[in-house]
Assembly symmetry: C2
Homo-oligomer: 308 residues x 2
Amino acid sequence: MSKASAPGKVILFGEHAVVYGQPALAVPVTQVQAEVRIDKIFSPGIRINAPNIQLNDKLDSLAASHPLAATVRNTLATLEAGSLSGVAILVRSTIPVASGLGSGAAVSVAIIRALAKHLRKDLTDEQVSQLAFETEKLYHGTPSGIDNTVVTYARPVYFVKGQPIEILRVKKPFTIVIGDTGIPASTKESVRDVRIQRHKNPERYETLFAAIGSITRTAGQLIENGMPESFGPLMDENHALLRNMGVSSPELDNLVEAARKAGALGAKMSGGGRGGNMIALVQPGKAGAVARSLKEAGAVNTIINKVV
Amino acid sequence: MSKASAPGKVILFGEHAVVYGQPALAVPVTQVQAEVRIDKIFSPGIRINAPNIQLNDKLDSLAASHPLAATVRNTLATLEAGSLSGVAILVRSTIPVASGLGSGAAVSVAIIRALAKHLRKDLTDEQVSQLAFETEKLYHGTPSGIDNTVVTYARPVYFVKGQPIEILRVKKPFTIVIGDTGIPASTKESVRDVRIQRHKNPERYETLFAAIGSITRTAGQLIENGMPESFGPLMDENHALLRNMGVSSPELDNLVEAARKAGALGAKMSGGGRGGNMIALVQPGKAGAVARSLKEAGAVNTIINKVV
């Protein structure tokens, strides 16, 4: 039996603007995990069992475009193990899907690492991330590459499209609370809508992207210099700019406001928007109170996560 | 009779960091003014009457270091009118003193322009600003040059020490509310304290200055691109960084908090800190409510000012 797991991720700063070359800052969410277990079985072929999505089928009967099947096939090709047979892959995850927490990438990374372990082969982080990225394309069309990167390295990441990954050194830990609106969000659609709006009003959108980039860089510097307690209002500002961009929603605004009223140092939507999750920066002692307020304000789920 | 007046000013972003080369953003406060009137009188010499500071004396009997006397003497020297005699200079101002609203610079600019008008001579804005700057040195030791610049041009200014003045084009007007703690603040002392702290902990302070600079630049871009409603949380962030720097005070924090609770889009201390004024960005319809809340929270004076 071989096992591997991978955390979720959440974007702290820079969603949407990252598509246009601005930096983004994302952190792993270790309170939720995707877990993959590989067992030897007597029947031939490869069986994939993913109870979360009611999948229990043979690899051969899954379409080439099925993300789990594609991940397994690409990984086996990379590991030169196309003939693998007689195994069952069990995929489980506590990461909410379609909410911007990187569940797809986490499942991919866990599958890739479990397969490599089962085959007693080594893959570099770079290879794992690249393989997960291939699957991301099936989910998102033109993924930014953040999800696979953060999930693979399980470290806070300062991300600029097309540039080498920069691990963010968190000098002083900080606590975030994540609240889920419960409304499924399609990053693909949201990114497409921003593209259309940008085409109509390029000057306005370039200004918004540049402002978000500047905020993201500033937050990164405060975090790397051990002043996480000071970046809260930058989250408020990033939220204001995302609202201005038209990607927030009444439900997200409502949770963001609830977090602020409960004493959060700052709060914003996270990810593509229109639904999905929001995050708040909190003093450690206030995490419980903020999470409770989010529940009262309608959050279907909350996660308290320390970023180290 | 010759008359001239000049507005107050308030710093929107960048105080303290400006001393270390970062940009600052300041706007005129036209609701308060310094006014100077020059009348011919029969007695010889020059009489200065400034009821605000209980001054009513002959120029000749004032020390060289007296700011009003220095302004008059420097201006007359520049205008080659050292022999001026038989005039009374009446100086009045509704700008609170020692509170970061630029009352000293406004008085200087009004005196300089009234004298030039009286003598029917032209001074360029550049000359007026430079003459006012000379007097600023008597007040502040090493002034940044913001006060004389904003007051002279009576326009919002993006200011970097040692660089040509950049007038900020405000694409869409916005409304600020200023609240006075009533506690006299010495910019000179506050700037000196920051210098000492920076010497002890250069890395920390450079990070804070850089973060403030980045925020100031971002706010400038949002203002120039017609998105003033989006820069509120940048004020909150700037305040958080100034607090971190140790230049805020319980009274300032209290008014900042009161403004936010009353619905301000953002709020921060303004100027040297430890006392003096704070400012809030408000939606026009909320200006009255925010001003009232500031009074209730202990502000001795409030000013509602539209920035155009």
